[in-house]
Amino acid sequence: MNPKYAALTALIAALLLAHPAAAAPGDPDKGEAIYTQRCVGCHGDEGDGMGPGAERLNPPPRDFTMGFYKFRTTGFDDYVPNDADLMRMIRDGMPGTAMPGWGDLLSEAEMWDLIAYLKVFGGLEEEVPTDQVDYGEQVATSAESIAKGKALFKDRCDECHGASGKGVATKRLKDDGGARTWPRNLTKPWTFRASNEPRDIFSRISVGIPGTQMPSFADPKSKKILTIEERWHVANYVHSLAEATQVVRPENTVVKAGRVDGGLPHSPDDPKWAEAEPSTFYLVPQIIARERFFTPSNDTITVRALYDDTAVAILLEWDDRTRSLPGDPGAETVAGPGLSQDAVAVQLPAVIPEGMRKPYFGMGDAAHPVNIWHWQSGPADGVESVRLFDARGFGDLQERPAGESGLRASGVYDAGTWRVVMLRPLSTGAGSDIQFSEGRFTPIAFAAWDGSNGEAGSKHTMTTWYWLLLKPPTGSRPYLAALAVMILIAGAQVWWARGAARRRRDGET
């Protein structure tokens, strides 16, 4: 055979046989160089996940020396991942963690080199997976499948993930290394480490998440075993749990408060809130002032607002897996040492800025103080409270009686979500209070504390500045303008047509 053809045939054969799981073998020596340059910061020189960045990361970086991986598609009793599983983690990264996707910086070949090197850490060089996840025939999503999945979920999953899927904690979970873990909040698909496509959810249900308390539901020894079809139903149900109102729309930076008649809602359950437009913002941990906080449990807050002639009401809604009640034995068991109250805060400038200059977003500055409305959920035997502070910079707080400014707040915890209403008159007698004004863009920022996650004082999550707008009613001007334009144009048309008709008649005569 002509050597040219032989090479071509070999290439075609290789392409035909190439399975995503069995790709070109990488060069571990080249991989080591890439690893040293890109990965040691978190995963460490030894591959043990003890890099200089490790202690502030939650979840912690993977320890490659253990030789097993959480997100794989090989059989539940195997421990060797598919090459494609490793490739996916490196190329796409792990959403909700500090692991970025490297596909834009490293070439395909470089990533294979890296994979070859990672295997050396765990002694996986010669290992081949013996078993694969059996996907059977995928059940397409449908109302019926979702309903079946819901029933199965209630039976098999809600002990950890909660009936709402938000991971309401009834017990303390930990990984094999003893570190605290939280069940996934299944309503937030962007935090799924390996996507929320039904097929990926199916993989998680089938394999479990090795090293954590998420078990395999394909294991015949499990009392909770699910058939392939059942697992597809659960996957379709979990996929359907995504909550649209919790998705951040980056272009939306304004909380628009609509004007209502007949009184403002004082409770989070008031049906009037359905009239208010939700705005969701990302929460990030406070990592810029002492004491810094690096391990948050939540990442978004949803805000609605309404106002009337006399007051403004703000509804704050955020997911929290735990109702943190200091003094309550159940809550203390789940939280561990150092349980504090859950809390939320709204920050507003003491004076609505005239120009661009706002107060410093981190609790104001000496020349530009802010008001902070701080609600706390209360201890086990106590009641919720709201406090009012003037702040002039991080930690520079002065409290005033909230009652004198008419500030009120009340919260409800249900199925993994806190909902708190704060209400304050538009204007107050106190000179250091913000005086609200219809139609003016008012800076506003938020903070939240999960008391079961070690959050207290400066350890909390927060947003940067957004806007609150008391939206003036539209009024009749757009209607009047439309009417005027229509009359003008219709008049001009009639005038033109009549003129033309008259000229025609004149021409005929």
């Binding site: 960045g53 909700g96 970025p100 304004v254 990302y282 661009m356 530009h368 144009i489 033109w496």
Partner: protein, 259 residues
């Protein structure tokens, strides 16, 4: 030879205008993927329409040919039914535009800020005053004089970076760390040729040491979530991080102009 049927002149004009509009959308929205203010598109289309109108009505004949279909619609009795339909629709469309235009918009005020504002000539950090016009990275010379020491310093800078900076600026130094999406203004992308490659090391030292609150007013210090790193890092640690930023990205710090 068969002649291609002639497109009526009015339709030609409309097609040309549509072509220009589609071209604008294609180039800016799809090819360049740039956010273009609606007002700019409006202005561009205004000139397009005026230009097309001028070209298409350049001679008296061409003008007459162009308005002929409209004239016929209004004046030709046989087109009466079509005319009535058009006369009903046009005011409705115009009214709809007017209504939409008069609706209050509630778009957030634009916040203009200078991303790399001019540094002061000197800056006081703690008890020490630094002259930013002469300040240089004390470790830079090891790059040529002691490459082994330089590599150590870069590695130390990398460790400091990963424990402190990656949350916002990212593992890849691309400004896309896990918390970046929550911040406004967004963290700088050091890989980008428009950031550290355009700046001197003394500028980086100033920006890192004094953080957001150290910005002059044109940099909107009240918005930036860059911490005041002199509260957390020593002077040497900051210089090591700067070595790392240039080493990892492959950029060179901007040098002082000679002469």
């Amino acid at each position: 030879m068969r002649r291609i049927p002639k497109i009526p002149r009015l339709l030609q004009a409309v097609l040309v205008v549509v072509f220009f509009h589609a071209g604008f959308v294609l180039v800016f929205d799809y090819l360049l993927a740039q956010v273009i203010p609606a007002s700019l598109l409006t202005m561009y289309m205004f000139f397009v329409v005026v230009g097309v109108f001028m070209v298409f009505t350049f001679t008296e004949d061409s003008a007459r040919e162009m308005v002929a279909p409209i004239k016929a619609l209004v004046e030709d009795p046989s087109k009466r039914r079509t005319r009535n339909v058009v006369f009903a629709i046009v005011p409705l469309i115009a009214g709809g535009f007017a209504y939409n235009h008069m609706l209050p918009r509630f778009e957030a005020p634009l916040e203009l800020r200078s991303i790399h504002p001019a540094p002061p000539s000197s800056v006081k950090i703690g008890d020490k005053r630094y002259n930013l016009l002469t300040l240089e990275n004390p470790f830079r010379e090891t790059e040529t004089q002691d490459p082994e020491r330089f590599a150590e310093l870069v590695a130390e800078g990398a460790a400091i970076y990963i424990a402190n900076c990656q949350y916002c600026h990212g593992d890849k130094l691309d400004g896309k760390g896990p918390y970046a999406r929550a911040l406004n203004p967004t963290p700088l992308n050091f890989q980008d040729i428009g950031t550290i490659a355009q700046l001197q090391e003394s500028f980086l030292f100033w920006r890192i040491a004094t953080g957001g609150p150290g910005l002059p007013d044109e940099g909107a210090p009240w918005l930036s979530s860059m911490p005041v790193w002199s509260d957390f890092l020593s002077e040497d640690e900051i210089w090591k991080v700067i070595l790392f930023l240039y080493d990892y990205t492959g950029h060179r710090p901007r040098a002082w102009e000679q002469g």
